[in-house]
Symmetry: C2
Subunit: 393 residues, 2 copies
Amino acid sequence: MRYVNATLPDGSRRDISVEGGRIAALLPSSGNAASAEDLDLDGALVLPPLVDGHIHLDKTLLGLPWVPNRATGNQVADRIEAERKVRAARSLPESETGTNLVRQVLASGTLHMRSHVDIDNQLGLRNLHEILKVRERFRDLVTIEIVAFPQSGVLRSPGAADLLDAAIADGADLLGGLDPVGIDGDLDGHLDAIFGIAERRGVGIDIHLHDGGEGGIVELLAIAARTKAAGLSGKVAVSHAFALGSVPTARAAETADALADAGVAIMSHGPGAATIPPLLLLRQHGVEVFGGSDNIRDAWSPFGNGDMLDRAMMIGYRANFRHDHELSVAYEMVTSAAARALGLADYGLHVGSRADFVVVAAGSIAEAIASRPRRKLVVKAGRVVARDGMLET
Amino acid sequence: MRYVNATLPDGSRRDISVEGGRIAALLPSSGNAASAEDLDLDGALVLPPLVDGHIHLDKTLLGLPWVPNRATGNQVADRIEAERKVRAARSLPESETGTNLVRQVLASGTLHMRSHVDIDNQLGLRNLHEILKVRERFRDLVTIEIVAFPQSGVLRSPGAADLLDAAIADGADLLGGLDPVGIDGDLDGHLDAIFGIAERRGVGIDIHLHDGGEGGIVELLAIAARTKAAGLSGKVAVSHAFALGSVPTARAAETADALADAGVAIMSHGPGAATIPPLLLLRQHGVEVFGGSDNIRDAWSPFGNGDMLDRAMMIGYRANFRHDHELSVAYEMVTSAAARALGLADYGLHVGSRADFVVVAAGSIAEAIASRPRRKLVVKAGRVVARDGMLET
């Protein structure tokens, strides 16, 4: 079958031929549907699948009645404590709320994601096992990378390192980390633990770093040095890295050089109140910069919906992007750059790739990022799986 | 007729009886529709109409093919120059693009707005007359306050003061202003001009103030002093006031006291990259704080859609609101507080008020702000004018 009269991201008009779930040809548009099997896109913009580089499938409360935020302070540690109370009170398991969220993001065109999953000495591996169920449930539709995330710290949470190791054995794909100084108070101890497990298990790393200012920069430089020493270039990311947005430009540029040299990527969700890393500067210095949702209606934040075009808009809004070439950066952060950071093979709209794409009501990439357009179709392996934001599966 | 089984903002379940376009009764819900004329809201949340305290109906390019941003620098003055080029190239008059925008915001539940309209020596009163046509077109559906806005400055744009005065004579409701120091380079001269006209014409004032830091604070204090001297308490607003978010808290608090004492309100749209005023602190000190869209797909910004629940979410996200009581502040900023700032008589959901309201798919105010819910119905004078985001008129 063919999807005819598609506008590709480069502005060209093409007919997309699908065979065996893959793109068999991308020919200049013939202008009309030739068979009853063809679907006429009428010039609508076709994007590769959206990629969410940072989601928390186990934290969301989506589908539960509204749960007010209970944090008594404004620090990461306060929110960790508040979440422990919310967890204890939830009336649906994480596999159900996580399923609600995957269904929602799938309908918006996201077909790949990296989910952090909380591991601590209260939870053990429970959340991991819940989210493994979700991954299995959606295995034909969505790829879900799982990061074993020490939400309560590693050194301050006795037994956490062993749990993280066991999480990898049970199916998690990457090691997580959390504010080595801000939460664990021991930069080297924290990094020893997680790089040790990652090297032994042969997996990548994605570290939450909220610590700001020069202290956060020192942590970033240590992560870059560890990454080089461990030969993990291209397999390590730091999520948030607010510090890069709170130091002088020259210091951010130096740090960017070290991150690029070590092959450490930076994930930003376009934070609301925290400083945002200087995205354009990082890219100019060769750092892979990608996007993610972060919290979605959970104990951390009431906001978020998992729509990565919406997220790209938020990133662009926070980064003061106004020109089309800047909006393209936000677009890449939720498509190709995120695909590279997640190590997705075979990503993109080209002959031979999987026939996975999103059809949106916009005339160009810039408009798609600025206007949060309607998702007309989500196509997986050549088959329509969502229409106008509603799943058909 | 009645709208039965409505959940009001306070959580109570009520039947709303409508007679002669007004709310005739708000009785505890009977649980079912009694006549064929009744509409069952099935427990959906009913909000008073949304209020946009700061929109630019003449600037939007909505309905035109995508227009890339052309600004060559990142200053207000660069964007003023870029907009002059975009204006010259537009192929639809401001009355048509403004109509597109009013239709869009009406469908999202906004029934009242304050629109700034550019007045300068290139445009003369052309944009004002275009937007007066829009106001007339929607007079039965939407109230539109018009601010005569000196987008190119007052003192640096020869003849601007006379044009502003003529704009009031022609139908504008308030005097605007723009960065007395940053654009005109003369604090007293700028304020002399606009307060002079406002006093003579007996109208209020709404000044765009982007100037940051202590310089911006000095301007705010001068505006407060002028407001008291002119007896314009409650009729003056400052839009943006980024400076309040970039000075030490004690200085912001002092300034808040002066603003509250003078009856000067502050409008914030939840800026993307600029500092946001400390909204909670301002309210604690008695300042009226309200919300607005600011730019919507125009020469200034590619973003924005005019949906005030979306805007309240952006304000809350930028202000780091997470708790329900904070989300309620964002809600008030786009409803009751904006209604007070605009001087709307007879606003709100009570017996005797106009039967104007929005029915949304949310269980509470907090959820309505966090989740940008579907607008099930928009009701004007008791009559459904939009359903599921689509106008019926």
